[in-house]
């Protein structure tokens, strides 16, 4: 039986195999999404059929509303994330290099980290008023702690032997940080960026609960209040697609910058065809 399967697999063109594999799960879910509400298995008010959602999505897109909202949210996500990254990454590296600093800040970080973004809303309004500023703050806070902790552990995980090697080659402490620690961190920082951007998108709804006039989150909140479930789903799908696009870009960037990372892919553990995913 397995012999036939491998024979069949080798006959089937490789490209068809892996592409089929990637999409089959999505197709199955799409089928269920369309069929279940129409058949009454799921309440259409709680989950409208896929085709209706897509039709509504097209309406919103064609009307210009969707792109405008998307642009407003995307700029908040990128700006909030950038602010968090600019603060959290250097701080995380510093805490990683100086254990004393880490100990000083550990309790504060542990205290603040579990607070979910919506919990910060009252404070955000108080400190920043209404409009874009508190929204940016919410996104900032939602991503900051994750970036900080991630950068911190990545810094602590930098191969100390590499640092030692650099020192014995004549590097000063600062040169060791610059030429060994930072390059070592690049792949981990890219991973942290992917995680951080994902979190930033997740914060968008909470962030846009605070008095903004445009945005995907705002659109989704309004839609929910008016029981326009299709709009809510259009918003979710849009966020999902944009998040996917950003992530894909970062993965490609990581591939280009981190070709030196051997990792699992380079080992002969998996057949090359299986890896083409």
């Amino acid at each position: 039986m397995s012999l036939e399967r491998t024979a069949a697999a080798s006959r089937r063109p490789a490209r068809f195999t892996f592409r089929w594999r990637r999409w089959v799960l999505l197709l199955a879910l799409a089928t269920v999404w369309e069929a279940a509400p129409r058949l009454g298995l799921l309440d259409p008010l709680l989950l409208p059929p896929l085709t209706r959602v897509l039709a509504r999505g097209w309406e919103l897109l064609a009307g210009g509303r969707l792109l405008g909202d998307l642009a407003a949210s995307a700029w908040r996500v990128l700006a909030g994330f950038a602010a968090a990254a600019l603060l959290a990454i250097p701080l995380g590296i510093a805490l990683g290099l100086y254990p004393a600093l880490e100990q000083l800040s550990a309790s504060l970080v542990s205290l603040l980290r579990p607070l979910s973004p919506p919990a910060w809303i009252p404070l955000a309004i108080l400190w920043f008023g209404i409009g874009d500023a508190p929204a940016l703050f919410i996104i900032f806070v939602g991503t900051f702690f994750s970036l900080l902790v991630g950068t911190l552990s990545a810094t602590k995980a930098v191969d100390a032997q590499l640092v030692k090697a650099a020192l014995t080659l004549g590097a000063s402490r600062w040169q060791a940080v610059q030429r060994v620690v930072l390059p070592s961190l690049v792949p981990d920082l890219l991973t942290q960026t992917r995680i951080g951007l994902g979190l930033a998108w997740m914060c968008v709804i909470a962030a846009e609960m605070v008095a903004v006039r445009r945005g995907i989150g705002f659109m989704m909140i309004e839609a929910r209040n008016l029981f326009r479930t299709e709009d809510v789903l259009v918003g979710m799908v849009t966020i999902g697609l944009v998040g996917l696009a950003m992530d894909g870009f970062l993965v490609r960037l990581e591939g280009r910058l981190c070709r030196w990372r051997a990792g699992l892919r380079a080992s002969r553990l998996y057949a090359p065809e299986e890896l083409q995913a």
Binding site: V24, E222, N225
Partner: protein
């Protein structure tokens, strides 16, 4: 072959989700659950619950406090609640989208208006031109504000700047700190602000639409069909509770404060009575349709549902027939 096996697995995984979300007819057990918002307007429910009026009427009822309107509707969809009490606009929006519910009674009238800061010295709506107003998008506060502005000769899109927020308390804070210049809000927040000295009630929307409905009582269609007796009994209790509350505002206020764990009885007692607000159960001719019409005009719903779709007066009429 692999394809069908995978699909089977997915179907199996989703099956429990489907039965949870599904509106396959479920046999109901346990008390009849009524979801009510955490607001003044639901005082009759608090009174009925506190005084055991439901039990006296022979029905097993659980009154559940829910802070969010949309959640009440969603819970009714799921079958977690059989009845609900929400602002009329929420009810109309849900019915317009096909929710199998009907409005069977109201709970209160009035109570909504515009709050400004005393120091700004505004005297009428016209003074709002060019200013920022905080409101909750697509809520009754929004619909009535829009209408009031139009009647005052202002263009809500161009003459004022709307700031959409999600929370009554946040809007009060925003007004207090001067981030907005007015807020469309409700009692007892508005009188509370006046008592604190910084707020001033510019107008109540009853000035434009006297005795406008505020919150309504909803019954799920399935529940209304299957348990007519229970619905009657609950509505009868509701009428009694409203009558009692109107006669005993002070005691009612204390009950409300106890349930909401907010405000003080003095403030609540002050805001439960005319001219600020009036607890009532009667459905007046055409008022629901009028509100639906406003929502349609403002683009919040595509089309105002037919009267029969919105309101089921049957149960309430039954009860009123039996009373003088």
């Amino acid at each position: 072959m692999r394809l069908s096996r995978r699909k089977l697995l997915i179907a199996l995984a989703l099956a429990p989700v489907a039965t949870h979300l599904g509106c396959v007819a479920r046999s109901r057990s346990g008390p009849i659950a009524i979801g009510v918002r955490t607001s003044n307007c639901q005082a009759p429910f608090f009174v009925a619950d506190r005084q055991g009026l439901y039990a006296r009427a022979g029905v097993d009822v659980a009154v559940r406090l829910v802070p969010n309107n949309t959640e009440i509707i969603e819970a009714m969809q799921r079958g977690d609640l059989q009845m609900g009490s929400v602002p009329i606009t929420t009810a109309i929006a849900a019915i317009a989208r096909g929710a199998p519910l009907h409005i069977v009674a109201i709970t209160g009238r009035g109570s909504d208006g515009l709050l400004v800061r005393r120091e700004d010295g505004l005297t009428d709506l016209a003074g709002l031109k060019g200013r920022t107003i905080a409101t909750i998008r697509a809520s009754i506060l929004d619909v009535l504000l829009y209408d009031a502005l139009l009647q005052a000769g202002l263009d809500p899109e161009a003459d004022v700047e709307m700031v959409y927020m999600n929370n009554l308390g946040d809007m009060i804070s925003a007004l207090k700190t001067g981030q907005v210049e007015a807020t469309s809000n409700t009692e007892p927040f508005m009188t509370d602000a006046e008592r604190q000295g910084w707020g001033q009630i510019l107008t109540y929307y009853t000035a434009n639409w006297p005795d406008h409905p505020c919150c309504v009582v909803l019954a799920g269609d399935a529940f209304a069909r299957q348990e007519q007796q229970a619905l009657q009994a609950i509505l009868a209790t509701h009428c009694d509770a409203v009558a009692w509350a109107n006669e005993h505002p002070r005691e009612t206020a204390e009950i409300v404060v106890d349930y909401l764990q907010a405000f003080d009885p003095d403030l609540v007692a002050d805001t439960l009575v005319p001219p600020k607000m009036r607890l009532d159960y009667r459905l007046l001719e055409g008022e629901v349709e009028r509100m639906a019409g406003l929502m349609e005009a403002q683009g919040l719903i595509e089309q105002a549902p037919a009267s029969a779709r919105l309101v089921d007066e049957g149960p309430l009429q039954e009860i009123l027939r039996e009373r003088p």
